[in-house]
Symmetry: D2
Amino acid sequence: MDDMKREDTIRVLITGGTIDKEYNPVTGELTFAKSHLTNMLNQVRCKVKVFLEEVMLKDSLQMRNEDREEILRKCIDCPENRIIVTHGTDTMVETAGVLGKSLKGKTVVLVGALIPYAFGASDALFNLGCAFSAAQTLPGGVYITMNGKIFSWGHVRKNRESGEFEEI
Amino acid sequence: MDDMKREDTIRVLITGGTIDKEYNPVTGELTFAKSHLTNMLNQVRCKVKVFLEEVMLKDSLQMRNEDREEILRKCIDCPENRIIVTHGTDTMVETAGVLGKSLKGKTVVLVGALIPYAFGASDALFNLGCAFSAAQTLPGGVYITMNGKIFSWGHVRKNRESGEFEEI
Amino acid sequence: MDDMKREDTIRVLITGGTIDKEYNPVTGELTFAKSHLTNMLNQVRCKVKVFLEEVMLKDSLQMRNEDREEILRKCIDCPENRIIVTHGTDTMVETAGVLGKSLKGKTVVLVGALIPYAFGASDALFNLGCAFSAAQTLPGGVYITMNGKIFSWGHVRKNRESGEFEEI
Amino acid sequence: MDDMKREDTIRVLITGGTIDKEYNPVTGELTFAKSHLTNMLNQVRCKVKVFLEEVMLKDSLQMRNEDREEILRKCIDCPENRIIVTHGTDTMVETAGVLGKSLKGKTVVLVGALIPYAFGASDALFNLGCAFSAAQTLPGGVYITMNGKIFSWGHVRKNRESGEFEEI
């Protein structure tokens, strides 16, 4: 498996999304305080070499074209060839499209959660695990890992009624 | 990605291990009641077709040769080509060896946890996510996913001091 | 302690509030599905005789005079003399006032949470424990238990900036 | 309620027990690392003035007469009149007896948990809440709060089969 360079550093680009949201008990709203990615990786005893970079902390419904361009630029500019992007689920497919059309030779996996890591019964850690293996095993390309499945960009949509990602 | 048959059913063979243990508040001991795999997959909204089979619920230190032979037989006999085996970490490497020497043409991923799913701050869901992607993307062979890493059987050991899995 | 009738049944009137809210992963909103009180009392192995009654499931900002009158009527009509009312924190003080002015001879403890029981790091179980002891030990009157403290109605307010309850 | 001095500082004497145990993932055993009381009180936003003192971190089955004498001395010597003692459940009744026979004029509440705070589905926070209200409202004496109930020392035993505390 040497050719897969599985021991290489993985760049984790943090962009926000439900996975990193928390509940503000004073306002009663879901907000961003700081990313939980470091805590998450510590909790699960992840020993893969990881370079964490917080690009932004945004609800993906608030992301604009320039945000997606910035994420694309970060993917291009970073020295790593295996990249995980944490992202809100609502426009994850859209960002995957921007990356998929322009990126060559790198493996990028977008991942998020339907329930924040900070809440009970979250899907965050499972999804993150899916992303870690996918980032280490898949050939160059842009993918989404949600609901235990792996989707290639351009072949996936989020079902707004069920909240699930499905192949198209 | 069609050749990877990622949408195929994954057989999950449950054999026990810390991932499925729980705390008995009357005796103060860690024991098995029933497997948490169904709850885990429901919590994370896994939509991969899965066939769950409880082979045994054992601490892997209690496993004998016949237990490993039974797991091997289950891997051979089941119709699925992509298999996840939940397993205690203490002898996971040994079982991987038994499977690795005899299995041909199937992708088997062994996975467990250092902290039970039922406890706080567990690594179970992350590890399980790693196993799900690995089972869907890796070529035929026997693997272990722990600590965010993917190991081929015969190239991995558990470090007894740190509890971590490392390449050899 | 016989005069305190600590072994008597406690009536728990459920009215909603953050304590019972949950996160809807499809809409991204905090909503009510069903009360978690039964689960909470099972989890903590509460062996006090309890009569659970779901009066309503409302955000307390949505409560109107008629809602508070209904809660008052439930307190008056139920056979129990020791009552816990789960309630949203935003207008808990107001409802305590309605109850305090009209109720005689019963011990009523209002309680809620700043973080839903269903989320990580919730204050719900601690607050509920405070309410259980208070309901069993305090003389007739209307009280609020929040932040580990016990307040008599009319001598308490919620600090909107900090989210904390303080004596006035 | 001024005579109850509910706003007074509560001394919390930490002695160990299941409430403070954690799972050691390397050895697979339940052990003590450090007390979780500070984390617990922060999580629940307790605003009562508290003086935390770690007397020992012991499984109560390991406690000897001299340990109980030390706890008694701490109760006598501390300036506070309202004291919570966190304690293992197996010999909590015994320690309550030692305190009950010798202490005068102070309100002491012993409390523990059947499931560690650090695990999922713990009773620790609820029990602690019960202890906080009991310590603030009860007259001088030695009590145990478990299973949502309040017991006077000498009138309580732990049922070894069910794990529950019951009046005798």
